[in-house]
Symmetry: C2
Subunit: 346 residues, 2 copies
């Protein structure tokens, strides 16, 4: 519990200079006589030496910490992304400073400021702020930034995105290949780019097959609130399904803009005695853990979440080391996950 040893203590102990000790202990490529080096290492062990990286940082103006700002770690999507970030960062000897913005722009800015004070030089962020506002000034201030799931074209920052449109296309095409021609599209409000793009993929897929889009088959929640309280996607799925079922004929398949909504759809269908997939097929989007637990297991689209994090991490670390392999945007590809909720029409 007495003061921790420094390189000076070690230097005294082996009768060498602090410089030499530093060279040995920081694995500098600088030549030191092997015997001396070994003696120093031994002394370090003996004195229970732990390097003080604060001292090093002050001198070198480099940190091994990367900041991660996301809306909420409680959202499984971000949890998976962060997991990917942390794992590769840790492998490279970097630490992760986690900041939740809670969808609050001011908090986000506050975190950015904190990170700057702590001399963090690199940030991975899923910003909720229109980037032209707050983020830019930090960029110019020497921050290296990698952006996740942003869908704003931007030239000053590296972006890791996911091809939602392709995803929508993939799942709709799958439905078409199974012989479906009357496919409803249900979604929460199209206020996010991701949902718009999925919808766009749906339209393009039908179009490519020469199937006309019937607007009566496109049901979008008008709002995600009800008397002030947010209504869950699960509930929205149920409501939209009720609306869909009001008039016959029913579609042979329903494509939901995400898994949660799809669960609502299936729940309502089952309640009404309609069998999935025998009567109506259902497809989701996200591949939540529960997609394979629900009955019948949900056919959906997988988004490589961990991988997004891993790539972001690698990219940022390269940026920090001035390895200039930085492309402006990386687009991750969707993957179809076939399970039991989609049936071929006979």
């Amino acid at each position: 519990m007495n003061k921790p040893a420094t390189i000076y203590d070690i230097a005294k102990h082996v009768n060498a200079s602090p410089a030499t000790v530093s060279r040995v202990l920081s694995n500098s490529k600088y030549p030191v006589r092997p015997a001396l080096a070994e003696k120093i290492r031994e002394a370090a062990r003996e004195l229970n030496y732990t390097p003080n990286s604060i001292g090093r940082q002050l001198k070198t103006n480099k940190t091994s910490t990367i900041g991660v700002i996301i809306p909420s770690i409680t959202n499984p999507f971000y949890a998976a992304v962060v997991s990917g970030i942390e794992e590769t960062a840790s492998e490279q000897g970097y630490q992760v400073l986690l900041c939740n913005s809670q969808n609050n722009p001011e908090l986000e800015l506050q975190h950015l400021k904190n990170l700057q004070e702590n001399q963090v030089k690199g940030v991975i962020i899923s910003s909720i702020i229109d980037k032209n506002d707050g983020l830019k000034q930090y960029l110019s201030h020497g921050f290296k930034v990698v952006t996740i799931d942003q869908n704003h074209p931007d030239t000053d920052t590296c972006q890791i995105n996911f091809d939602y449109a392709k995803g929508g296309h993939v799942i709709a095409s799958h439905l078409l290949e199974q012989g479906h021609r009357d496919i409803a599209f249900l979604s929460a409000p199209l206020d996010r780019p991701s949902r718009q793009l999925i919808y766009q993929g749906y339209k393009e897929a039908l179009h490519a097959r020469g199937v006309d889009i019937d607007q009566a088959r496109v049901l979008i929640s008008s709002t995600s609130e009800e008397s002030g309280k947010p209504i869950t996607e699960f509930q929205q799925g149920k409501q939209l399904t009720r609306r869909l079922l009001q008039s016959k004929p029913w579609p042979t398949a329903i494509m939901a803009s995400n898994d949660m909504l799809a669960f609502g759809v299936m729940n309502e269908l089952v309640n009404k005695g309609i069998r999935v997939p025998e009567d109506i097929s259902v497809a989701g989007f996200d591949n939540l853990e529960f997609a394979e637990i629900v009955a019948p297991a949900l056919t959906t689209v997988e988004q490589p979440k961990q991988e997004m994090g891993a790539i972001a991490s690698r990219l940022l670390i390269d940026l920090l080391n001035d390895v200039d392999n930085a492309p402006g945007e990386i687009m991750l590809q969707p993957q179809l996950v076939e399970r039991k909720s989609v049936h071929a029409v006979t």
Copy 2:
């Protein structure tokens, strides 16, 4: 992009000494002439000054960072805990360094070492190591440690625990109050304290009501692997249910040691055409998000996860500030969440 301003730049700019500037900008209680103070603050704004907390830390030997070591942020339980930690830490001006140990003791030790090098003085940890081994030496080294969900009595560290036994008692009692007398208990292997304690709570509740425990009603998976591959709790729930259903009479209620297992139970029951809760009631433990989405919605026990994190955070920060309100152990209480999967027997 030129070098960021330091207190020296400001000092020069207003013709004062760095000492005075420091006193103003670090909100020291030291008296400074108001006019000068204002001038300094203005200069700071003008020069776009950002304090360099590395410099401060080197001088003061204090950090505003707390380390969090958990097995995996991908596990919703830990995600919720971390969310609680981060929120209150952030409110108090602390940052969170997130480390996933991935259930790997060596990685955990590695993270501990890293944190020490980075001069982190406080750690919240859900350790997978028997604490007598690795953790202790760090404790003596000046680390303040708060432990989460550990269930090892230990005097040297603050523990935040959850009363699993009480939880088991609460849910079993609820079943009893609904008139059930033949209650099966299904669980994954009792290799974790949490499961043992839940089982213990189950036994105590039945005992308190004078209901004998029929060992034929206690089904524990013998292993959570099958030919090398881990088998999910969901699958275990299904298997155990199949076993339970082999001989009549069936119990009127099933208590599962967690929600995932309960989902497996319900799934298997429904597959066999047995209605929940009309034929058999089912209760879970955890209150996962899906407990209210599954049909019928699952009656279960809630564990205040965010709160655990918040408390851990507050406690650790007190510890770091030598506020000595530190009790050895805090025991969070379970809460019954009544939904639709449990029926009164008539």
